[in-house]
């Protein structure tokens, strides 16, 4: 039963469940830790399917691209990954957070 208190069309966890029902492979990325200025709070989700379709956010759009490509690996392998993002030139990642904060994102396969 749809709930009038959840925005089901934009809720990442509801979308992930619907994708699963449709037989899609799904990865769920979650912000598990933040340091300093971070655009999205701990607990925020980005959900990704095997085609790279995504909903939700783990940052202000700064690192989503990298998370999505890692998520495709996670869907393939089934092994969860922990990703750390900081300011661009201080980390091994190609992308970074322009706001100067750092975030840790856990990416896991659904099922």
């Amino acid at each position: 039963m749809p709930s009038r208190f959840l925005d089901e069309a934009r809720d990442p966890l509801i979308i992930a469940e619907n994708w699963m029902k449709d037989g899609k492979d799904v990865a769920i990325a979650t912000v598990v830790e933040t340091w300093g200025s971070a655009p999205r709070p701990v607990g925020s989700h980005l959900v990704i399917d095997a085609e790279g379709t995504f909903h939700g956010s783990v940052s202000g759009g700064c690192v989503e691209g990298a998370v999505i490509s890692e998520a495709l690996d996670v869907i393939e392998s089934g092994k969860p990954k922990m990703l750390d993002f900081g300011v661009a030139d201080e980390t091994a990642w190609q992308v970074g957070l322009s706001c100067g904060g750092r975030i840790r994102v856990y990416v896991e396969r659904l099922g």
Binding site: M1, P2, S3, F5, L6, L13, I14, A16, E17, M20, I28, T30, V32, E33, P41, V42, G43, P80, Y106, E108, R109, L110, G111
Partner: protein, 236 residues
Amino acid sequence: MDPFALKTLNAERRARRAAILVTDMGDGRDRVVKEGDVVAGDLGAALAKAFRTGLSGTAEAEGRQFFLNVHLPQPRLVVIGAVHISQALAPMARIAGFPLEIIDPRTAFASDDRFPDVTLHAEWPEDVLKHCPLDRYAALAAVTHDPKIDDFALKAALDAECFYIGALGSRKTHAKRVERLLGMGATPEQIERINAPIGLDIGAANPAEIAVAVLAQVIAAFRSRGLGAKAKSEAA
């Protein structure tokens, strides 16, 4: 994430019940803990705190690291009475993160002119609450001074175990209200939960200040949910 855990979590969220997804960061296993579930030890203490604050984060327990993702229903504030206090309360509550809705069958009071951008029901509480029932994540403030309008909503709030219930009126007015609620079948223990006179005692002297006092009391009740009951059961 376990598909069953995701289904359980979403079912709880749809039903407006609090739940925490607990993930063991060592092996990736997860499970859903519902509010009221008994969990022992350090993890139980961390879960209780997370339910109270609504803040997600990591927790160390039994030599393992867990991530607790807290999902609290959006608290809502239902106000009976489209009066002067409600006009001040509406913008304050919105800023503080409590979406507010106002119920008042008196159309002269409940007008869009007086309450722009507010969810307004110019109907009797009996009719509105049938469609949008109160629950444990709702707060109810009855401020009409009119028993014909306030009483039904107060009884409904007691039965739904709203996290906050407040009623405007002097101690004398409240004594009469207690008699009426007893007559409606409410128990004395239930009636104890009503904050009357309404609002924290900050010496509020006008409608806007009363609105501040009410909102502060709502926040205090929200952040201490379940603590009173827990203290009681530990003492017993």
